[in-house]
């Protein structure tokens, strides 16, 4: 017997998800029916589908009522993240479409590369669009439920899509290597998380985070949830790229096609953080006070290692990989200062939410710039490739400088507003030491964030003129990111307000 009312409310609760899933299926079909010209068509279909999903996500955000429907939670927090990941997906589509077109155009110069498979094809790659859509669906499932098994399925949906995306550039052996590494390491992490979930179920007999406050813990088995939590933390730290679970990050980020790296650094991280906040809130009801210390240790390690290791990199992508590690550190700092006498207070996560939004804009923007840096059939993302970019491609260099300055956290960019929010919470809650550490490591980070500026502007003209227009989709995403970085920087109040509304939904 099918309950129609139930289906309708389920439909409403997950409207953006259904739209995205449907679009993904249509994209698969389109790509299959017109394999030759399909790339562009699939891109348009996927883009429109995402835009429609974004529209409905916004409407849900504005409508305000919370719809809890069995396995789906549609509260303010979820909707905030839905909007954010769809934005990330859209920008990723724009970045990747142009990237593969550029890579194709450059390699079309009579080399045997032209005969290679889909990635060697000109134009946007249809599979990439489909994968992006399914990855975004996975991300939403990752946090849009309070049922740990649904979360896990979301995680796997997302991860599988991203594994393939990482290995998408089939001509580049590094891309394949990265996919392999990511897959092996990622499987271990997934296993950790799953084992943690199962152990937790064994200990408390509950999969649903919202029911945790009802469970009873027997003192003689209190170690069980602790082990479970550690395993789960291991899984989370892996996905969030936190030290000491970060070793895969530089290799994978460097090997993956540039836009995909941007997608991983933002989308995957945002989704994982969303679930992480939910889990931390639920863990308040378990005797796991030690979590806050684990988080703090992890913050210290991440900030130091991430920022120091970034200094010696020669490849901008690799540098940005370490940069994303250290930003994950700042985000975790924002969460770890939410602990007051062993209990996590989710309302401080408003700063983290705002930081995530700002971080996504500047990181995607930076990777969008790198996506243009394609030279002679390969990515030109060494620091040396940036030499004189300020003269040969002034617009590109200017926006890249903007994103670097924002990542560093200099006003009037969003990077400053975001860091200010995190540090001020840290100081207010009495975590002076962590705040000082954050500021010191920010100063260290100036070294590697300003280095591209030096290369672009103060190292003379480029050896050879690398001209070329910026493709339209990329221009779109660059302009969007640049405007967002400045707008959120000088007038952050409305977005902080959004983040606060979302943060209060975590309970």
């Amino acid at each position: 017997m099918i309950d129609l009312q139930y289906l309708i409310s389920l439909f409403h609760a997950g409207l953006p998800i259904w739209i995205l899933t449907g679009t993904g299926l249509v994209c698969l079909l389109t790509d299959g029916l017109w394999p030759k010209k399909g790339g562009t068509a699939v891109f348009i279909v996927g883009f429109l589908g995402m835009a429609v999903a974004l529209f409905f996500a916004f409407r849900q955000w504005l409508s305000g009522e919370t719809i809890a429907q069995d396995l789906l939670v549609s509260d303010k927090a979820t909707r905030f993240f839905v909007i954010l990941v769809i934005f990330i997906g859209l920008l990723h589509l724009l970045n990747s479409a142009s990237y593969f077109r550029l890579l194709g155009k450059v390699s079309a110069g009579g080399s045997p590369a032209g005969r290679l498979g889909p990635a060697g094809r000109l134009g946007p790659a249809g599979d990439m669009v489909t994968l992006t859509l399914f990855a975004v669906v996975g991300m939403i499932f990752l946090f849009a439920s309070d049922h740990l098994i649904v979360n896990f399925i979301g995680l796997e949906t997302m991860s599988l899509a991203v594994y393939v995306m990482v290995g998408f550039n089939r001509r580049d052996v590094r891309s394949g290597e990265a996919a392999m590494k990511y897959y092996v390491m990622g499987s271990v992490a997934s296993a950790l998380l799953l084992y943690g979930i199962v152990l937790l179920y064994g200990a408390v007999g509950e999969f649903r985070l919202s029911e945790f406050h009802k469970v009873a813990i027997f003192p003689d088995t209190a170690f069980l949830p602790r082990i479970a939590v550690v395993l789960m933390l291991g899984g989370f730290f892996f996905k969030l790229a936190l030290v000491p679970f970060h070793f895969w990050v530089p290799d994978v980020y460097e090997g993956a096609p540039t836009p995909v790296t941007g997608f991983m650094a933002t989308g995957v991280k945002v989704a994982a953080f969303a679930l992480f906040i939910r889990v931390l809130t639920a863990l308040n009801y378990l005797p796991t006070a030690v979590v806050s210390q684990v988080l703090q240790i992890c913050v210290i390690l991440t900030l130091l290692v991430g920022n120091l290791a970034a200094i010696v990199q020669d490849n901008v992508k690799r540098m940005l990989a370490y940069s994303s590690i250290s930003h994950a550190g700042y985000l975790l700092l924002g969460l770890s200062v939410g602990y007051q006498s062993g209990k996590f207070d989710p309302s401080v996560s408003s700063a983290v939410l705002f930081y995530l939004a700002g971080y996504s804009c500047m990181t995607l923007g930076a990777f969008a710039v790198l996506s243009v840096m394609v030279d002679e059939k390969r990515e030109a993302t060494q620091f040396a490739d940036l030499t004189g970019l300020g003269y040969s491609r002034p617009v590109l260099a200017a926006v890249f400088s903007l994103f670097m300055i924002s990542l560093l956290g200099v006003p009037p960019t969003v990077g400053f507003a975001a860091k200010y929010g995190i540090f001020s919470f840290a100081v207010k809650n009495g975590f002076i030491g962590l705040a000082v550490l954050g500021m010191i490591t920010t100063v260290i980070s100036a070294y590697y964030y300003l280095r591209p500026l030096v290369m672009m502007y103060f190292c003379g003209a480029p050896e050879k003129v690398k001209g070329g227009e910026i493709p339209f989709p990329l221009m779109l995403s660059l302009v969007f990111c640049a405007v967002a970085v400045i707008l959120l920087g000088i007038w952050p109040l409305p977005y902080i307000d959004m983040a606060q509304k979302a943060a209060t939904a975590f309970k």
Binding site: V230, G234, V294, I311, I444
Partner: protein
């Protein structure tokens, strides 16, 4: 009449901004094509938006006039700019008597100068760029005068500084002109630093009161209404705050010691000199002090400093003006001198007199500058020794120039007479004989050098190498001149003092927002007497000047021979630039090079701190990257080690 709807307030500054955006797009398009298009498009865009602003400003002014005394139009918070526990700042506009006067001057004189520029900038490569800068300037200037709090004012303050820099160095391919722009920017930066410290001190003073929490309204420390309502909290720091703010004013309004940039600012196109460096931007400091009059009234010491500096600047600049031969330089020093007068008025507590002089000065000085622009346009030269006899060639320019010269010299009944006399009278009432004496003396010098300028430029025989090429400027340039000359002639009737049977409407208009004048009630007979004295003085000096220069342009040669060293000192502008160079710039360079660079930077910071740190960081980074082998097996091992460590830590 329909009342001005407050929703439209933000349109007044927004319109020039739209003009700026459109003109920048055109400028970019032209630059991309490497070919300029028809000049009509940017000129129409560039002029229409300011004129529309002006119309709105007039409408707002009339509405305000119809309301009861002390009323104001407020846009309300357009958006909350900042709302942190420390302070809350709204982006909001306020039209009260003071800002309405400023708006009328800025948009009115601004529009005229925009129109004039169409003729002056004709066939310039950067035509569209010029208009986009000029529109941007109007936008920032309107922010400055219309903002309802100090931070919006500061945004405008910095914005006009930027536009001034861009326009002084408009012909940036000439390194000398670019350097002038840079000088203006750097000197202004020093003043702005003082201004910023003043703002921080205000924040600090309110912070001391423990008002940090509560609703945003109780934290909007920078809004004028809040400042005025809670000024007693600022009282302990008032002297420090106002001195810092005044440092900002000396930068923007070219007073001792920071006036040195203004004469060099003449490198920009002449309409720019008229708009920015005579009529509007340089008066921002006067506006700011008048706006915060209630705060300055708490700091008598600061007011004394202001009056001294104003007077000294007025005298010194006037003396330098006597000796200059560049037509624009004379006017530039004259501007510095007149600004000194306004500060003198502020210092003696006569706020409305200062604003009155600001307005009339905007009329006649803009007219003088535009007139000089017209002359330069014809002669392609700025040296008055190569001019002469232009009256016949350029009758309109010469007539308007004469009217403005009479006005600035203080000959009744032209505008300058009323405003200057009010300053003199208030200085007298202030009770300081030496001040009055020096101010009167300076007024005489002003009359002298202005007539020297007029006679040398327009009368006598022409000394131009190609007298046949000289011609009157086109109508787009002469019509603004005529309008400004008329304003310079009749503008004074806005504030005819009571003793002459007037009502001093200007004073009453501002009375609601200004603290009352500090001076004592004067004796009407005495006022009339002093008025007669200053009129007589101005007339006599003017006639002497005309007589001397009509007879022989080189008559000062005898005197200058006699007092060669003094004359040279004045001619070289009291060598203030050289003094700054020797006292400040060179020591800074020496210290920078010998100590900061060679010792502090290279040895301490680079050698020890930077390389020490980076060596350490580099070492640890290398260790880290050594761990980063690239082998999945190793990575998995690390993962397990980390996990086991975590487990032991947690479960122990």
């Amino acid at each position: 009449m329909i009342n001005f709807p407050t929703q439209l307030i933000s349109l007044i500054p927004a319109l020039p901004l739209v003009g700026f955006l459109l003109n920048s797009a055109i400028a970019l398009a032209w630059a991309r094509r490497r070919k300029a298009g028809p000049e009509i498009i940017p000129s129409v865009i560039g002029c229409l938006f300011p004129i529309a602003s002006f119309v709105l400003a007039v409408w707002a002014f009339l509405t305000l006039k119809g309301m009861e005394e002390g009323a104001s139009l407020s846009s309300g918070p357009l958006l909350t700019w900042l709302d942190v526990p420390l302070v809350s700042v709204d982006f909001a506009f306020l039209i009260d008597p003071l800002s309405s006067v400023m708006m009328l001057v800025v948009t009115g004189v601004g529009s005229l100068i925009h129109i004039y520029s169409i003729g002056y900038m004709k066939k310039d490569d950067g035509f569209a760029r010029y208009f986009s800068y000029l529109n941007l300037f109007l936008f920032f200037m309107l922010l400055l005068v219309m903002g309802d709090n100090l931070l919006v004012l500061f945004v405008g303050w910095e914005g006009v500084g930027l536009c001034s820099y861009l326009l002084i160095g408009f012909w940036f391919t000439d390194p000398q002109k670019a350097a002038c722009g840079k000088k203006a920017f750097v000197v202004n930066r020093i003043g702005d630093f003082g201004f910023l410290i003043g703002l921080f001190l205000i924040l600090y003073a309110f912070g001391l009161q423990g008002q940090a929490d509560g609703d945003p309204l109780s934290r909007s420390f920078f809004s004028y209404s809040y400042l005025a309502a809670n000024k007693e909290w600022l009282a302990p720091l008032a002297t420090a705050i106002t001195l810092c703010l005044f440092v900002g004013a000396t930068g923007k309004s070219a007073q001792i010691p920071l006036y040195v940039w203004l004469p060099d600012a003449m490198a920009g196109p002449t309409p720019v000199s008229a708009l920015i460096h005579a009529a509007t931007m340089v008066t921002a400091g006067i506006y700011m002090v008048a706006r915060l009059g209630f705060l300055f009234a708490l700091a008598p010491f600061t007011l004394q400093v202001i009056s001294c500096i104003g007077l000294a600047t007025a005298l010194m600049a006037a003396l330098i003006g006597l000796t200059q031969f560049d037509i624009k330089k004379v006017l530039a020093y004259s501007t510095v001198s007149q600004l000194g007068y306004m500060f003198l008025a502020l210092g003696v507590g006569a706020y409305s007199a200062a604003i009155f002089h600001l307005v009339t000065h905007a009329f006649f000085k803009a007219c003088l500058f535009l007139g000089s622009g017209s002359v330069i346009h014809a002669c392609h030269d700025q040296d008055i020794r190569n001019m002469g006899g232009l009256f016949k060639k350029m009758p309109v320019t010469a007539t308007t120039f004469l009217v403005s010269t009479l006005a600035i010299a203080g000959i009744p009944p032209l505008a300058g007479f009323f405003s200057k006399d009010e300053i003199l009278w208030n200085t007298f009432l202030y009770g300081s004989w030496p001040f009055y004496g020096v101010a009167l003396f300076t007024a005489g010098i002003t009359a002298f050098y202005m007539f020297r300028l007029f006679v040398t430029t327009f009368l006598g025989k022409t000394r131009h190498p190609h007298p046949d090429h000289l011609h009157e400027s086109p109508w787009v340039m002469t019509i603004p001149l005529i309008i400004l000359a008329v304003l310079a002639a009749v503008g004074g009737f806005l504030g005819v003092p009571e003793v002459l049977g007037g009502h001093n409407r200007f004073h009453h208009w501002l009375a609601a927002v200004m603290p009352p004048s500090v001076g004592h009630e004067g004796n009407p007979a005495l006022e009339l007497g002093l008025m007669g004295l200053s009129t007589f003085w101005a007339l006599v000096i003017s006639l002497i000047s005309v007589a001397l220069y009509r007879r022989n342009l080189n008559w000062p040669a005898v005197i200058t021979e006699r007092f060669r060293s003094v004359y040279n000192l004045v001619l070289e502008k009291f060598r203030v630039d050289e003094l700054y160079d020797a006292l400040i710039i060179r020591p800074i360079r020496v210290v920078s090079e010998k100590f900061l660079w060679k010792i502090s930077d290279e040895k301490l910071f680079d050698g020890f701190l930077v390389h020490g740190w980076t060596d350490m960081a580099g070492f640890s980074a290398r260790v880290l990257s050594r761990i980063q082998t690239g082998l999945v097996g190793h990575y998995l091992l690390y993962l397990w080690v980390a996990l086991v460590a975590l487990l032991i830590f947690t479960v122990k």
